[in-house]
């Protein structure tokens, strides 16, 4: 994880020589489609279709992909808000794939979630004190100094004022609400936080505040993050490792620097070249060297055979439609599922679009 060729910023994560905190193998979630008089299953939306990854303690794994690629479903499966249809989720070595709600409850202290929309994830009829204090009550873990004091400390930790205790969510701006959501997630001192698009509903200036807050909290409390986002620049900023998902599969997973310097999967290359760069000169200089993907993501009800990206891939050949490329490590810590990867180990990272000419 820290053995990349060039790391401009030392990653805050400790070296993972232990068991990973979270280990996911072959995870699948198929949503049944029922039709006809007998409501028989006629098909399935293969939202998550066999993914493997691990998250080590103290690190941040970013998950990117377009809408509909299954990244949010994956987040809900990992936090067990949804029931997987197959595969295995191990948290600290314990299999939690099919634990019942009751058996899961003690573990909820360790895995918490931050939601995307701070407007719909806070109960409008509850005060901030009730919202942030709820985890303590639910877990019957009233802290020694009293509930109110603990909540106020949490609010301060997240950059809110302790006087906000008796206010209602509607009195806060989007950024402050997201802080309330973060305070609630931190209440029970979790080991891992799954954040589903934590900043995408916020304004740019507020987004930076929340990103910095997440950063500080990780350093202070030694948290492990699984951050799901569609914004590649935000993901680059927060993650130690990044997984790219396409149509229910992980197509590439690598150290942040390795991925952004020399993305190997054609899809990752296309995604990166599509990110608009705030530099008007680039428009004239670089022209339209960007890789334009045509069409839309295929339906997850009936995904393409073989490699799922082949229908939009400019490198696709016959083998891509018959054989599904396995996710293999082509470099240390850089796994990719492609028959014809770009920037392979022999090519060198020169021509990586999106990361050239700093």
């Amino acid at each position: 994880m820290t053995d990349t060729q060039t790391a401009p910023i030392p990653s805050p994560a400790p070296a993972p020589d232990r068991e990973p905190l979270l280990k996911v193998t072959g995870l699948t979630r198929h949503f049944p489609i029922r039709g006809g008089l007998m409501r028989r299953q006629t098909g399935a939306v293969r939202a998550v279709d066999g993914i493997d990854f691990t998250v080590n303690a103290g690190e941040t794994l970013g998950v990117v992909g377009e809408s509909g690629c299954g990244k949010s479903t994956m987040g809900r499966l990992v936090t067990r808000l949804d029931e997987p249809t197959g595969g295995k989720i191990e948290f600290e070595g314990t299999d939690i794939t099919h634990l019942s709600a009751g058996a899961m409850r003690p573990l909820r202290r360790d895995i918490q979630m931050i939601f995307q929309d701070p407007y719909s994830s806070l109960n409008p009829r509850h005060t901030v004190g009730t919202i942030v204090g709820a985890p303590f009550k639910l877990q019957n873990a009233i802290p020694a100094g009293g509930l109110k004091k603990a909540v106020q400390e949490l609010l301060e930790l997240c950059g809110l004022s302790p006087e906000h205790y008796n206010r209602y969510p509607h009195e806060f701006s989007g950024g402050q609400r997201q802080r309330i959501g973060i305070a609630r997630a931190l209440a029970l001192k979790p080991k891992m936080i799954v954040a589903d698009e934590p900043v995408s509903a916020l304004d740019v200036s507020i987004q930076a505040q929340v990103v910095n807050l997440l950063d500080d909290l990780q350093k202070e409390l030694g948290l492990t993050y699984l951050i799901i986002a569609h914004d590649l620049s935000v993901v680059r900023h927060v993650s130690d490792r990044v997984a790219v998902m396409y149509l229910g599969k992980v197509v590439e997973i690598a150290d942040r620097d390795s991925l952004y310097r020399s993305p190997m999967h054609p899809y990752t290359n296309a995604l990166m070249s599509a990110v608009p760069v705030p530099d008007p000169r680039r428009r004239q200089r670089a022209g339209r060297e960007r890789i334009l993907l045509t069409g839309d993501v295929p339906s997850p009800i009936n995904p393409p055979s073989g490699c799922r990206f082949r229908t939009r891939c400019w490198k696709a050949q016959d083998v891509c439609s018959t054989q599904e490329p396995p996710l293999v490590a082509l470099k240390t810590g850089h796994q990719v599922a492609c028959h014809f990867p770009e920037n392979g180990p022999e090519n060198g990272p020169e021509d990586a679009p999106g990361t050239s000419e700093a």
Binding site: E66, D203, A208, R236, A274, P278, R282, L292
Partner: protein
Amino acid sequence: MTELQKTTAAAAPGSAPSSDPFLSVRDLRIHFDTDDGLVRSVDGVSFDLHKGRTLGIVGESGSGKSVTSLGIMGLHRSKRARISGEIRLDGEDLITAGPDRVRQLRGRQMAMIFQDPLTAMHPYYTVGQQIVEAYRVHHPEANKKQARTRAIEMLDRVGIPQPDRRVDDYPHQFSGGMRQRAMIAMALVNDPSLLIADEPTTALDVTVQAQILDLIRDLQDEFGSAVIIITHDLGVVAELADDILVMYGGKCVERGPAETLFDAPEHPYTWGLLGSMPRLDRELQDRLVPVKGTPPSLINVPTGCAFHPRCPYAALTDGRSTGELPVLAEAAPGHFAACHLPADERHRIFAEEIAPRL
């Protein structure tokens, strides 16, 4: 876009432009009476726009950028809205014009693309019916068949595959990117000279966003229309805009050609916006530099410079920022900023403190 046009438009307004601008907005104020007080959504905004040029309006939510665009389209005719100032479209004042006249112009001379195509399109009518309606309102002489041919032609032009078949689809049968294309087709069906795009790509994935931005650029090259693009994403404006207007608290705080605005921004708020976004084209920073605090309430706009409570340099203005309203002053040819900081001081701060971090 010839070089000549570029220089004239860059010099406007202020120095006398050689040709009349197609759209000219002077001291536009849009206030709303509410139970809580008067909301000054737009408070004295002026700009010019020539045909074939693109103006980007940037700002956080609540800065008045969308209200400005709806004001130009004449969509604030409620009793509670108080509009003053001047909006001249091709020499004709839209504020004093009657609602019927504005309705004639809307759709024909000026058209708008909205952020969320699912709510902007009627779910009950097919995409084709909606485009046909937009066409026939302004072309009463056209019969149904001609209008339908025109609708198919437009769908083809914006890149919908099999337009003759998809024309009879309902909006929900289109994907997000296709709906946005269909809305662009609807907006352009009458060859408007002014196109306002309000956050046209915010709801879309990056790969689709890149397609839509390319499409808007191509269509502008082809039809030579004037385009206003409203967004909070500096990357998107950098892709499209020739000139940029930065709004804060209902006022324009900085305006200038895109290149100078990105290379040598003058206003501390613009510095804040640039500093708070993570960028893929730069080396990774350890921390983002957010703007502290939150955007102001438009009912109680801070006195003096509306940005002063969040401005790290407010102390350097001898108290003028809290008491005195800064005026837009020309900082460089065609580049205006409303800031009390002396120009030398601003340039020094930017060169020493801001530029190295961007």
